[in-house]
């Protein structure tokens, strides 16, 4: 698959090393291939969306990037370095932050304890709490609540707050909108937009193009483990409907 997802902005600065580049990457689970040679580029400061129906390989791509699964072929390049085989904790430590599907928070810990877990990059707990409350004021009243008892939207806010507290260089979001009310999704994507405006690169996965229309610079349509089309989310939307219908 050779389709390029570079936005016009990215083309304007050809000398820039992509923050992330997947080159003909193949990967799978227990010998069953899920990604059949994908190419993807995320330039510094760019917001890239991967769109596609269930089972297309979107989450697998993110897991691969975060080091949770290893490629069977191809190159995973981060800031110009081949990082095939890098450990997920090493990638997280340098600022590649994955917010997984299902939020990935510690359900049995309080909100404050969840935030404390993110002090591994040397940022103090107080500062992390302040940053989190600035991004999500609602969390201020919930600091001592056990996070498993929060609503889905609040849990997603906590997951985002934890991610943002580490000052990520690349924020990787897996179906932020899953199981949430449209209003909550809008609120979360407003924050994503603010984060993107501050220069953080974002790679996100969604099932619906409309959700990411105002956020993403470019989008890649993924179907059955292959990237079939790249462009603006608006251009991808029609193709996405076809993909859902198996066309």
């Amino acid at each position: 698959m050779t389709a390029s997802n570079q936005s016009p902005d990215a083309v304007a600065t050809p000398a820039a090393t992509p923050l992330v580049e997947l080159r003909n990457v193949r990967a799978g689970y227990d010998g069953i291939e899920a990604l059949h040679g994908i190419d993807l580029v995320v330039q510094p400061g760019q917001v890239v969306a991967i769109l596609g129906p269930n089972g297309a390989g979107k989450s697998t791509t993110l897991k691969l990037l975060a080091g949770l699964i290893q490629p069977t072929a191809g190159d995973v390049m981060v800031a110009g370095r081949r990082v095939n085989g890098a450990r997920p904790d090493d990638l997280a430590r340098i600022g590649l932050c994955l917010i997984p599907e299902g939020r990935g928070i510690f359900q049995n810990l309080t909100v404050r304890e969840n935030l404390w877990m993110m002090t591994h990059r040397g940022v103090g707990q107080k500062e992390i709490e302040e940053r989190s409350i600035v991004a999500f004021p609602q969390l201020g009243d919930l600091l001592d609540r056990v996070s498993g008892t929060l609503s889905g939207g609040q849990q997603q806010m906590l997951a985002m707050a934890r991610g943002l507290a580490t000052d990520p260089a690349l924020l990787v979001l897996d179906e932020l909108s899953m199981g949430l009310a449209p209003l909550v999704v809008d609120g979360l994507y407003n924050t994503v937009r603010e984060v993107a405006d501050q220069g953080t690169s974002i790679l996100l996965v969604e099932q619906f193009a409309r959700i990411v229309m105002d956020v993403a610079d470019s989008a890649s349509l993924m179907v059955q483990g292959r990237i079939t089309q790249c462009g603006h989310p608006r251009d991808i939307e029609a193709k996405l409907s076809q993909a859902y219908l198996g066309g």
Partner: protein, 118 residues
């Protein structure tokens, strides 16, 4: 498109300095295999030394055989230690992951029960 050059530079430097684990995991595996090989070699050397000492009445040769047997024993002990160290490390990693998963599943059940009670 806005970017953040300072953070980007820091990230690039950290990626460049990042130690890739391929070498570490292959070293661990090498030491594990080395441990098994040393264990086997040590035992073989000790057995050979035993037969050497039995095959002669010359006390000098018998003392040489005792020294060889002791070296074999030492090699086997070092090999066993390396094998235990690296196989236990693998087991503990698995145990930690399993423990974490079980704790999470237990919490899920607890939260579901509390929600039901509400």
């Amino acid at each position: 498109m806005i970017d953040n050059p300072e953070r980007l530079e820091q990230f690039t430097n950290e990626v460049a300095e990042m130690r890739l684990p391929d070498t570490r995991s292959s070293r661990e595996r090498l030491l594990l295999i080395g441990g098994i090989a040393s264990m086997a070699l040590g035992v073989i050397v000790t057995i050979v030394a035993y037969f050497v000492s039995h095959g002669t009445t010359n006390p000098l040769q018998q003392r040489d055989a005792i020294v060889i047997a002791l070296i074999g024993l030492a090699v086997a002990i070092v090999g066993s230690a390396a094998f235990l160290r690296y196989s236990i490390a693998q087991f503990l990693r698995f145990w930690l992951a399993r423990n974490s998963w079980e704790q999470s599943a237990h919490t899920d059940r607890l939260v579901a029960a509390l929600k039901q009670e509400d």
